[in-house]
């Protein structure tokens, strides 16, 4: 479980770096996706039990289910959050296409028309 948490921390750093430092708009969106996936990974690995079984009730394990099963609530919440991230990414990609049509470039340094 420590391995997954360390991987999640690395993902967080990579995601945050991509959103902040990269200039291409598509790379920023990829960084946003990486950052959201860090949170999902951390969330799932919080519900893990050492040597746990998958949270599915079958006739064999119905008695020892509450003790041995991995927590199913984070899995459901992460499924919901993946759907949300998907919709946001789809919207962001359509806005990127519109921006490309207006500005003819994907470089965010050149998209600065709005000033005080």
């Amino acid at each position: 479980m420590i391995i997954t948490l360390i991987t999640a921390a690395l993902l967080a750093v990579m995601g945050a770096y991509c959103v902040v430092a990269k200039k291409n708009l598509l790379k920023k969106l990829i960084g946003l996706g990486i950052f959201t996936n860090f949170i999902h990974l951390m969330f799932i690995s919080m519900g893990y039990l050492e040597g746990g079984i998958a949270p599915i009730i079958t006739p064999e394990n119905i008695l020892s289910f509450p003790v041995r099963a991995v927590d199913p609530i984070p899995q459901a919440l992460v499924l919901t959050s993946i759907v949300v991230q998907l919709s946001v990414t789809a919207l962001a990609l359509s806005v990127t296409i519109l921006a490309y049509r207006h500005f003819k470039t994907l470089d965010t340094d050149k998209m600065r028309d709005l000033r005080d």
């Binding site: 079958t58 006739p59 899995q75 993946i82 789809a90 359509s94």
Partner: protein, 130 residues
């Protein structure tokens, strides 16, 4: 696209679609259900669209078919919900732990999966036509 990509995808795409349908149908027993199943089937269509171009993908599932599928799925979902609210004694019909152990959950999963499939395929096709 490349010969390698086209050959590989010709072999793999049916399996992706089949696995997506399996996840959809077993949603009340294993992790998964409507959303991951629908997303997998849509990825199967998307991978065909990327490798062979949007016209080939549209030959497999056209926009009109997507709209009809969505309408059908919405009707199924509405029917199941109305049926469940007014006639409450329908779960556990065909035994426990089997495939048909809870019919309305499976119906909702399949219908929801068709809806998700329709929506995502529409997004992919529209974005590729630009």
């Amino acid at each position: 696209m490349d010969v390698i990509i086209r050959t590989v995808i010709k072999g793999i795409a049916p399996f992706i679609i089949l696995m997506g349908v399996a996840i959809m149908f077993h949603g009340h027993l294993t992790p998964g259900g409507s959303f991951p199943g629908g997303a997998m089937v849509a990825s199967g269509f998307a991978i065909i669209a990327v490798a062979f171009g949007a016209d080939e993908a549209e030959g497999k599932i056209s926009e009109k078919a997507v709209h009809m599928l969505e309408g059908l799925a919405i009707l199924v979902v509405a029917y199941v919900i109305l049926f469940e609210t007014f006639v409450r004694s329908y779960s556990g019909l065909f035994g426990l732990f089997g495939l048909w152990s809870s019919v309305e959950v499976m119906a909702l999963n399949v219908a929801g999966g068709i809806m998700v499939l329709g929506a995502l395929t529409l997004v992919v096709l529209l974005l590729l036509k630009e």
